[in-house]
Homo-oligomer: 462 residues x 2
């Protein structure tokens, strides 16, 4: 009988995260203070993050030890299995060998707990009593709620109001794990009050929710803020997945020619890809593809520039591919891929041609998800379907070229809490959204091409 | 670092199912034909089931080979991990060592695919083109839809109308796997038409849905019917789980003193328990507990009698614990535990004092689920919470008695598609339902205590 998946024993759980900053051909541009436009130092970040995470954000150490307490919690679902997609291969009649890493086995159903657990731990040891965060569709908010429950921390989640009302299941997951989740804008913060005074019916936005969560962290007692993607330390934590995967591919006796992941803020993609990017820097031939929606083409059409992480310009400026902090994409069903920016690490690696971005339209992604469900059994999150769509393109290409090829992708989460998106697709209510050039130009009006920090004038931004 | 879970490699997947009929101290009473009241033979069942499943239903072979094609599909998620519930143990401060088998890692999120895959396979090889079934809340319907997708069969699901309307996520899962799911009663069958003529607003019931699914199988071309619990062959397929678990407990170096599972129709419980029941028959001391809701106390308060499997008296009569085929329990949130009868195998083993039934009230089960989520991470299905509640009782007892004890339970599925139930609990909208004696008496009015088949007069039933 042919093997379908490669499981690692608990003893093979990686004991260290991999930090790509040790190996990047071009070092990262520093984050800039939103007020002064000068490089932001640890003291600028200390009000919102514990020092251990700030240190990880700027570290150049190649490997960083995973604390024992984090390893213990990782064992709740890690190591995750690596699958050979035999059903999909057979259906596509492709000479490609397709592998996927199943991150959907975590209690929250996605890769997000890889960093939620770590962030909860570092906050716990720093004396934080309460973590605040924002969430859109709720995947991150639910993962952080679980992390906080396991470390005995309070968790406060500002959930974009329209999602809060339309997608109750993730909110209830948060509450089941003991978190307090409120619709944003709320009356609990000055930022929220201000928005509601102007527009009592505001449906909210991720930008507003970030403002509320940051304000609540800065003004609250023993409170810190937490972000679920984009930042260097978040990507660092996610590398536990890629490191496991390298061991599993070795057991399989294969090595990937192509690596694929979907990218919203960039963390699930980077978690799988970065340890292989290191191999590529060291001479391996790999095509490493980050996949985004055509309706939010941050990597494929946004310039590399300094921009804010949030709409209301409170966060440090990050050097990244961005569509501009005021960009509002079409309401596509992959909520996790609607962010205007991209992780600085992923952005820089694209510039250095170590990662290749691609955009796929919405309908193709759901069709790919249906194909995967009917051949492999698993129903993917709509975000994950972007990776599946690109895998199918590559597998079909391999067939046309008559080439053997090893494709590896990150199956970042299941879609069982996202079935409304499949309903919309199956009933023919979805459309593709290719973004007109003028919309991109308008969105880009409020950012500037990347200057050197010393030349930087925050007045040109926003 | 302490081990948290024991994973088996794919090579350790059991190659045979265990058939308890080879070892039962008291053989099963035969099913009776609903019309004649005489023992039903294979020819009576042939219109609705393929012959291979009918043979399994009556087989006395101790082990039955699992076909290669079924093993291949099992590998999509099997072997499933056995967990040591260290977080729960610590929280309860108990000397008990608590283990649970995680059946929630299947694509459908529960144990149901163990038999769905097998039934789809046997139907496929028998030339069936389409399988019909009924579903309440949708756990079974979704699992069978997946099984049919993987074997290229059509699947038709009659879903109780009130659930169809209130719980769309499971229905969309079925459609994603390519099944056709309609609300029952429907206009597609005579049974449905009849009900709708009498009551156009009928909310449906499992009994009605069974009638529709059986009618559709009997009248449809190349169609067979499928049941997700209760029957002997269904329990047989589920034993793959208990057989894995025996290997895993041996690796852990422990053996259970107590085994716990929730029981609606009885299949997830039996799947874990039956291989250990064999050990008990052979002299091992184990307390094996089947847990049901106090609002549907089939095992703890229903007599052992011949009764119909459905409300409209179309199915064969089965000798089982039953509350009467007209029994309608309170609308509790564990939809899978609202069945009036219990698997004949489980029922007989209760009579023979090899299995001990217990009933727990609804609020206790959700409180247990919350405790589990916040200590172990995983959110259980409401059905599974019945097992968790009993585990907590046993662990607290162990503490009070100062006794070491090994508790093993079946974590039959996750609750991520059942979050509305947690919402109801967390917002204080749920109540306990202990069943008044007179309601039980009324329900029992339409069944008779078990006669020998030869003395059986169907006129006394229904």
């Amino acid at each position: 009988m042919e093997a379908r998946k490669i499981s690692l024993p608990e003893s093979e759980l990686p004991r260290r995260w991999y930090n790509i900053q040790a190996d990047m051909p071009t070092p990262l541009e520093p984050p800039l203070h939103p007020g002064t436009g000068q490089p932001a130092g640890p003291e600028d970040l200390a009000p919102i993050f514990p020092m251990a995470l700030i240190e990880q954000e700027v570290s150049r150490e190649r490997f960083i030890d995973i604390p024992e307490e984090v390893l213990e919690k990782y064992l709740i679902w890690r190591p995750t299995p690596l699958y050979r997609a035999r059903g999909l291969e057979k259906f596509l009649d492709t000479p490609a060998r397709i592998y996927f890493k199943n991150e959907g086995v975590s209690p929250a159903g996605s890769h997000k707990p890889n960093t939620a657990i770590a962030q909860a731990y570092y906050n716990k040891t720093a004396g934080t009593k309460r973590i605040t965060t924002e969430t859109g569709a709720g995947q991150w908010g639910s993962a952080l709620s679980m992390g906080c429950a396991l470390f005995g921390l309070e968790c406060k989640v500002y959930m974009v109001k329209i999602s809060y009302e339309q997608k109750p299941y993730r909110r209830i997951m948060m509450e089941t794990w003991g978190a307090n989740c409120v619709p944003s804008p709320s009356m609990e913060t000055k930022a929220g009050q201000q928005i509601l005074a102007e527009n009592p019916d505001s449906p909210g936005s991720l930008g507003i929710a970030i403002s509320e969560a940051v304000e609540a962290a800065v003004t609250g007692e023993n409170s810190k803020y937490s972000l679920g993607s984009v930042l260097n330390h978040v990507l660092l934590h996610q590398t536990v997945n890629g490191l496991e995967c390298q061991k599993q591919m070795a057991i399989a006796g294969d090595y990937p020619d192509v690596i694929i992941g979907c990218a919203g803020g960039g963390s699930n993609f980077a978690g799988l890809a970065l340890p292989f990017v290191r191999d590529k820097i060291n001479g391996k031939q790999i095509d490493i593809i980050a996949v985004e929606p055509t309706s939010c083409p941050t990597m494929t059409r946004g310039p590399f520039a300094y921009d804010f992480g949030d709409t209301v310009q409170m966060t440090p400026l990050l050097a990244m591919h961005t569509l501009g902090h005021s960009f509002v994409p079409e309401p596509i069903h992959a909520g996790g891929l609607r962010y205007h920016g991209m992780a600085p690490i992923v952005s820089q690696l694209i510039l250095d041609e170590l990662i290749r971005p691609e955009a796929v339209p919405q309908l193709e992604t759901f069709q790919a998800g249906i194909t995967m469900a009917r051949t492999e059994g698993f129903i993917s999150a709509p975000e994950t379907d972007h990776a599946v769509a690109m895998v199918i393109r590559e597998a079909v290409k391999a067939k046309e070229e008559g080439k053997e090829k090893v494709i590896l992708f990150n199956w970042s989460g299941h879609g069982l809490v996202d079935m409304a998106a499949y309903e919309a697709y199956l009933s023919g209510k979805l459309a593709d959204h290719a973004l007109p050039e003028e919309e991109i130009k308008r969105a880009l009006g409020d950012i500037a091409p990347l200057p050197k920090p010393s030349q930087y004038n925050p007045g040109t931004v926003g």
